[in-house]
Amino acid sequence: MKPGLKRSNAPIFWALFGAGGMLSALFGPMLVLITGLAIPLGFLLPPDTMSYANMLAFAQNLIGKGFIFAIISLFLWHAAHRIFHSLHDIGIHAGLLAKLVCYGSAMLGTLIAAYALLAIGF
């Protein structure tokens, strides 16, 4: 690479977008069905599936922690990237401010998720 040429940061955002897009394509519909419909409406699964004890144990488990963190953060990075790149199409200038708002909120969500998962403990 020539000196003075800046390496683009686009591949990082694109990789996060792709990973989140794949994860939401594979698990998104079933997760929404479980957490948003089956549990609140009381069908398909035992009523105490998402009880405090069950969810705490899941969030304290290392694999469970990783799953929760990947789902929340990658969903956010996927959506942030997609919304950022659609702004121009609906007549909003996709400048630095828009970039900071989109990717910044994904970063904030990622940090909050990491903090909560650490606070829950192991």
């Binding site: 394509a25 594979l26 079933m30 479980i34 948003g36 419909l37 549990i39 969030a59 929340i72 919304i83």
Partner: protein, 132 residues
């Protein structure tokens, strides 16, 4: 005296005139549902870290009809995301060559959808198994 009034071609709603772009805007729009759902899960995670009372309040709030309506919409939107994600996959991934011939588009799309269906069922089975 006269202010200059150059003609500016109106762009508002331009994509509504072409079915291709209507579909494009819908599949890009699924990102709002992905973001909102991640926000709901994040809230739940924070409430879980705050203890049993906070968790139970969050769980009860999901029974609000507005949340139920949102989740039905999100289920439709994210399912559509799944479909389009694998539909455009033949164009977003490098060509796959099997036995000297390029893997046809329908095999990539169909394979992806089959994996998604299997992943969904595996997730449901796993949650079912852990709950019992």
């Amino acid at each position: 005296m006269n202010k200059r009034r150059p003609y500016v071609r109106p762009m508002a709603g331009w994509w509504r005139k072409n079915p291709f772009f209507v579909e494009y805007m819908i599949h890009e729009g699924t990102a709002f549902f992905v973001a909102a759902y991640a926000g709901i899960l994040l809230t739940g995670l924070v409430r879980l870290s705050q203890g049993e009372a906070a968790w139970k309040m969050w769980l009860a709030s999901l029974q609000n009809p507005l949340y139920i309506a949102f989740h039905w919409l999100a289920l439709a939107a994210i399912s559509y995301h799944t479909y389009t994600w694998f539909k455009i996959m033949p164009r977003t991934m490098p060509p796959v060559v099997v036995g000297g011939k390029r893997l046809p588009d329908f095999a990539i799309t169909g394979g992806g959808l089959a994996v998604a269906a299997a992943a969904s069922l595996a997730l449901l089975a796993l949650v079912w198994g852990m709950a019992r």
